[in-house]
Amino acid sequence: MLIDWFTVIAQLINFLVLVWLLKRFLYRPILDAIDAREKHIADELADADEKRVEAEQQRALFQQKNVEFDNYAATNMAQATAEAKIEKIRLLGLVRHEADALRNKLELALKQEQLSLQGSLSERAQKEVFLIVRKTLNDLAETSLESSMAIVFAQRLADLKEEEKDTLKNAFKEVNQPLIVHTAFELPKEQSELVKKALHAIVGDSVEIQFAIEPTLISGIEINTNGQKIGWSIAEYLTTLTQHVNEVLESRNEAQNLDYSSEKDQNKETVS
């Protein structure tokens, strides 16, 4: 008999024990480990998915912020450029204005210097001219000329208007001092008498008349008393001439200054 029933039962029990033992020590732990690993992997994948989604969100946010920042920077840059341009134009204008002002000032100074140089030159020339004239006339002057002058002087006294004569007379009366007749040279007697006569005819015989030599007159006769002066001399003419020339020069300088000022104003208007 190939089947031994005791062995069959023993093997049945053995197999059942094996099944139980393997379930306990093999299948359950292994399956648990596999399940745990699968769960672990699934969890990690889910976590990774979650992180990926989060990362995507972060990336989107970051990109948006980047774009915003770029836009902001571009706007700021454009604004700054525009402002810089405006500032540049303003500063350039300011500098140009200052440069113009400086140039004008310089021009004015140059012109004034030129003017003053011209003025001093003309003054000097004028002085020189009068010096030469004075010297020439001084050289030319002599007694005969003085005599002629005395005649002319007497004549002029005689030709004075009545009011002028009265004024002269009154002036001399108030002074009550001897009249002094200044001449450049000593007059010959005839001429001095002529002058005396003419004077006496105006102021009266009571007034004493004296003669004095005054070389600065160059040539001519002069009577001075109490602020009144009657005279005819070359020096007088020269003085009058000098005054006239000065007046002419001054008026011309003033006219030039005025021209220059108006010119400067025009320049200023152009700049602004």
Binding site: L12, N14, L31
Partner: protein, 232 residues
């Protein structure tokens, strides 16, 4: 010359006896359980794991997948029984390469015991899955006339299971034993290799057939899957 390891007796006391079948079965149980305990003692649930754990996982997952492929939708429930069948029979077959090893499956008592286990397990799983009446009613399908034939089929296939495994394992051991006496050197080695292959195939067949029977019993409709496997 023994036809069955049952005949090798180590100890006997009246009815109780300790033959080679029982002793080698215990040895295999010891190897399987100790190996499993050693490996599963330090299991890792992370990505990194030991090679032995990997081997066990591959074995368990493969068995699981096979059960699922045959048609059991919840393989975890049957893994303990069917996996143990396969591992036990396969290890018995592998043991034949060890000189002096007597495969317990070479004993008709062992194969009968295993077939009896299947015979009992199939209705148990069927009743657990479908309920007692529905399971019993499945014997009367397609008609009540089929009831005796179904019952006969149930018993005969169990017998076939037992005898098929016994025949294959016993014949392998016998052929090697005979060949060893005739051509002692190379030829037995080749036959041993062939015996290994046959043994593993037989383990697979036993396992798949048991699975198919259980699948047939647990499914609400009887499938035709039973018929082709009967021919093996």
């Amino acid at each position: 010359m023994h036809l069955s390891p049952d005949q090798i007796l180590y100890w006997q006391m009246g009815f109780l006896k300790l033959n080679a079948t029982i002793v080698f079965t215990w040895l295999i149980i010891l190897v399987l359980v100790l190996g499993s305990m050693l490996i599963t003692r330090k299991l890792s649930s992370g990505i990194q794991r030991s090679r032995w754990q990997n081997v066990l996982e591959v074995v368990v997952i493969t068995i699981n997948k096979q059960i699922e492929e045959v048609g059991l939708s919840q393989p975890h429930k049957y893994l303990g029984f069917l996996g143990s069948l396969f591992l036990f029979i396969a290890l018995c077959a592998l043991g034949t390469v060890v000189p002096g090893f007597e495969p317990p499956t070479g004993s008709l008592s062992t194969t009968a015991a295993l077939a009896l286990c299947v015979l009992v397990a199939v209705p148990l799983f069927g009743i657990q899955e479908q309920g007692l009446w529905r399971y019993l009613a499945s014997y009367t399908k397609p008609t009540i006339i089929m009831l005796p034939f179904n019952i006969i089929s149930e018993v005969s296939r169990t017998l076939a299971l037992a005898v098929r495994l016994f025949g294959n394992m016993m014949s392998g051991a016998m052929i090697i034993a005979i060949l060893l006496t005739i051509t002692p050197f190379l030829f037995p080695v080749v036959m041993t290799l062939l015996g290994l292959l046959t043994g593993i195939v037989q383990a697979y067949i036993f396992f798949v057939l048991a699975t198919v029977y259980i699948a047939a019993a647990t499914s609400t409709q009887k499938t035709a899957a039973v018929t082709p496997s009967e021919t093996l």
